[in-house]
């Protein structure tokens, strides 16, 4: 017998990195960001993610989502600051920057304040908090633009595949919905009605939903004619065992959740939780046997994937360890306000996150 053609993509030359590697790397950077409020470290993390995106992003449509996530991060930061200015901050402070006219509120709204003193401490604390959230968003955005979530879902085990498809289809519907709303608002204008304002957007709601429904039915029909949902015949006993395992597993997880949340039951809850998870997982694995699906050219998991995922994990582990050793440097005090300093040991730790910019293969570029 001749050797069969290789079914995974060859691990040399320009190719897409395994999507899971990108997500592990980005989650590592994100986990590191949650360990600190030091703005210098956060900016360093964001810059690291940004550099890797610039170096290894492809030219597919989802690659452009990085800019959107950056803007979203800035928006979150802005909202956090505006709230701190308008509603005040729980952080006690003495350095008053300016005082806004305070809105008198009735007695029942005690504890809520609109306007009033704005302190440096309050602003700084809001800035650090917002920056941490923004950095997290930037990390997710980096993963999103480096590997489309759809490709990540393709790597799911067989039993979860159909749920994965539902998610992918839902995600492709979002841009379609936006396009529909635009088209129908334009059509309102053609009827001589106003196309601006909330009322105009709301009035197209029903036709947009109708359109979405029609599109999903068309897609479902197309998927059915292309063999979606074909199942293999499995022995009835196996099917029964699968169902029993999954059901028992889910039941165990529910019981354990109840036990964990109510006081006193914590002793038995943890083992039950673990047992339940194990049973559900076994059910999933057995359930995958019903699926006939094969994968066309799955992405290989080779050295670049190990390096990428490893660098993310290393950043997370090192930053967490350093933060536990020197908490003061990682959470600079705002009362009284201090200039945040960059602990030198953190720089190489964070810069480890740059490894994929060199280790990951370049994505294939299309001649345009």
């Amino acid at each position: 017998m001749s050797s069969p053609a290789r079914s995974t993509r060859p691990p040399t030359g320009p190719r897409q990195l395994h999507p899971a590697a990108w997500w592990l790397w980005a989650l590592g950077l994100g986990a590191a960001a949650t360990r600190t409020t030091n703005p210098v470290i956060l900016l360093l993390l964001a810059a690291t993610a940004g550099y890797v995106v610039a170096a290894r992003r492809g030219d597919a449509p989802w690659s452009r989502s990085y800019g959107a996530f950056l803007r979203l991060g800035l928006l979150v930061l802005g909202i956090r600051l505006v709230f701190a200015v308008l509603l005040g901050s729980p952080v006690p402070g003495t350095h008053v920057l300016f005082t806004l006219p305070e809105l008198p509120l009735p007695a029942w709204a005690q504890g809520v304040r609109i306007g009033g003193r704005v302190t440096l401490e309050g602003l700084l604390s809001a800035l650090y908090d917002g920056l941490r959230l923004a950095t997290l968003l930037v990390c997710v955005g980096a993963a999103n633009s480096l590997a489309s979530p759809a490709r990540l879902l393709r790597a799911l085990p067989g039993a979860l595949y159909e749920a994965g498809v539902a998610v992918v289809v839902a995600m492709t519907f979002a841009p379609n919905l936006v396009a529909d709303v635009r088209r129908l608002r334009a059509a309102r204008r053609l009827r001589g009605r106003n196309d601006r304002g909330v009322a105009a957007v709301l009035s197209v709601g029903l036709p947009v939903l109708e359109g979405a429904l029609e599109r999903s039915i068309a897609l479902a029909a197309a998927m059915d004619t292309r063999g979606f949902g074909r199942t293999a015949d499995v022995p009835r006993r196996l099917a029964r065992v699968t169902a029993a395992l999954t059901l028992a597993g889910l039941l165990g997880v529910c019981l354990a959740a109840y036990g964990l949340l109510t006081a006193g039951g914590a002793g038995w809850a943890l083992p039950v939780l673990l047992l339940g998870l194990a049973a559900a997982f076994a059910g999933l694995l057995l359930g995958s046997r019903r699926s006939l699906r094969t994968r066309h050219r799955p992405d290989p998991w080779a050295l670049p994937e190990w390096l990428t995922a490893g660098s993310g994990a290393a950043v997370a582990a090192l930053v967490t360890w350093l933060a536990s050793r020197d908490p003061a440097a990682f959470t600079p005090t705002v009362v009284p306000p201090t200039v945040p300093v960059l602990p030198l040991a953190v720089v190489p730790a964070v810069l480890l996150g740059l490894v994929p910019a060199f280790a990951a293969p370049t994505p294939p570029r299309r001649a345009s």
Partner: protein
């Protein structure tokens, strides 16, 4: 390969069956073309072959449909997936993944084919359909013709023995349609695939058919040689109409066959010319001056100069994505110019209030349903009167004139494509705009609905409306337009009387012009009139 035995289909909400007692056999390896007016059950017949009828659409199927020996009533569409491939009118609606290669592999993955087989077949299909350069491209970034070829490729990779296509070229410009038809041709010749295809635009496809199946509401379906069926078919392309007029036997179906028979006709017509339509020369009611529009990253229009006069029908043609819809949109103020200017009735459209603008210009969009919100025709008309500030009943009177005999209580969704278009047209005309724009009005219309549209637009032009229609339908432009504009990459590359612009163009010339070139004839009516005179 496909046999129908006493097949009838009735949907739950209709009294009459859509199909009645269909009894026929489509042999293996043939390209069988399904023709018939709207509502004759073409899509339903195709659905019974892929198993979507009745498993997906509901309804009751009597009789038996077998494909390759499998009864489609007992097999769900997914169990027929290795045997029947289905491609619809809109390829984007059937794509499941996001790149070309993944889409080609999707069907095989569902069937559980081994990796090395998938790898080989993807490569073969990329070559067969000429898609090799596009393998990593995102599906949304492809042109219409490329998308349709990917859609065909994505069902071909599982090596189906039957391919079912529902209006595969309706949404495509003439060039892209030829791309797709060339691929189908190759499948039938090289792979022996049985192809069952429904299409309204017979002028594009009838010459490729081995057999034609004519569905006529209220009559027995007829399956036969294309030339024989076309000789009596109520729906037929212009080349067949010309052949019938000239009495050619056997009836030519392609321009080439007709041309070989046309020497005597050309000689007879020599020295005559169709009656020249008077070119209207009023003051322009709409004009653009070096109009440039950018839409996102795309420069959709670059420096378009255009003047539209009352009483003139202008056809706007060009590839998908050439900027036709953007030009129409700019004239109704949907897109602000990045440079240059647009004026309609002395106003700048994107700075004019919608309520005022509709008195100057009206647009019927590509999908007329976008314009219709009402639950009934009567409600729609009442809303149109309010929107336009017209006297109550104006819109209903227009509907009665353009679309006689539609009941007040009908839901717009239940109208046929042609009726819906006419209703949208009436809604737009309620505000009496002197300039009327139509975007791709003949998509999905059969020949009868098209003929009615031609009459309506002619009489509107005679009343002094200026009409601008964007279309891929060269036959419509030839029949209707005084003047034709061709757009390419956002620039006007040709602008002049229709006869002059289209006769010399290989893509945009109507069939009659191709047969009778170098004569200035565009339509069968012109020839008939000249012969009768």
């Amino acid at each position: 390969m496909i046999t129908f035995e006493q097949v009838s289909v009735r949907y739950a909400d209709s009294a009459e069956p859509v199909l009645r007692n269909v009894d026929l056999t489509v042999p293996e390896g043939e390209l069988c073309l399904l023709v018939g007016p709207s509502g004759s059950g073409k899509s339903t017949l195709l659905g019974t072959v892929s198993g979507l009828v009745p498993h997906f659409t509901g309804g009751v199927l009597h009789g038996r449909v077998t494909v390759g020996g499998r009864d489609t009533r007992e097999h769900r569409p997914r169990e027929l997936a290795d045997l029947v491939g289905t491609v619809g009118q809109d390829p984007l609606a059937q794509f499941v993944t996001d790149t070309v290669e993944d889409e080609l592999a999707y069907g095989m993955e569902s069937l559980g084919l081994p990796g090395d087989v998938m790898r080989r077949r993807v490569e073969e299909t990329l070559d067969l359909l000429g898609l090799a350069d596009l393998r990593d491209r995102a599906l949304g970034a492809l042109s219409g013709g490329q998308q349709q070829r990917v859609a065909i490729g994505s069902v071909l990779t599982v090596h189906p023995r039957v391919l079912v296509l529902d209006e595969p070229t309706s949404a495509l410009d003439p060039g892209a349609a030829e791309e797709v038809l060339a691929v189908l041709q190759r499948l039938v010749h090289d792979l022996g695939t049985t192809v069952l295809m429904a299409e309204h635009r017979l002028e594009r496809v009838v010459q490729y058919a081995d057999r034609v199946l004519l569905l006529n509401p209220g009559a027995e379906p007829v399956l036969g040689e294309p030339a024989e069926v076309m000789a009596h078919s109520p729906v037929h392309p212009p080349v067949v109409a010309l052949g019938r007029l000239a009495g050619w036997r056997p009836l030519p179906l392609s321009v080439r066959d007709a041309r070989r028979k046309a020497a005597p006709l050309r000689a007879e017509l020599d020295g005559r010319a169709p009656a020249a339509a008077g070119t209207p020369d009023g003051a322009p009611i709409a004009a653009t001056d070096r109009l440039a529009v950018r839409r996102g990253p795309v420069q959709a229009l670059r420096g378009v100069d255009l003047a539209l006069r009352p009483g003139e029908i202008t056809a706007l043609m060009g590839r998908n994505g050439a900027g036709k819809s953007t030009l129409l949109g700019s004239l109704v103020g949907l897109h602000a110019p990045t440079s240059g200017s647009v004026t309609v009735g002395g106003r700048t459209p994107h700075r004019t209030r919608p309520a005022e603008l509709i008195r100057h210009v009206g647009l019927v969009p590509q999908d007329p349903r976008d314009l219709l919100y009402g639950e009934t025709v009567a409600a729609e008309c009442a809303a149109a009167d309010t929107d336009a500030g017209a006297a109550p009943g104006s819109c209903r009177a227009l509907v009665e004139r353009l679309l006689p005999g539609v009941a007040d209580a009908t839901h717009p969704r239940d109208l046929s494509e042609g009726q819906r278009l006419t209703l949208a047209l009436a809604v737009v005309l309620t505000a009496r705009p002197p300039l009327l724009l139509l975007d791709e009005p003949t998509r999905g219309l059969d020949y009868a609905a098209k003929a009615r549209l031609v009459q309506i637009l002619r009489s509107l032009a005679a009343e002094g409306h200026a009409v601008l229609l964007a279309t891929h339908d060269v036959e419509l432009a030839a029949e209707l337009a005084h003047r034709t504009l061709i757009l390419a990459e956002g620039e006007i590359v040709a602008d002049g009387p229709t006869a002059e612009v289209v006769v010399s163009s290989p893509a945009f010339a109507p069939q009659v012009a191709k047969v009778l070139a170098p004569g200035p004839w565009l339509t069968v009516q012109q020839v008939a009139k000249a012969l009768g005179a």
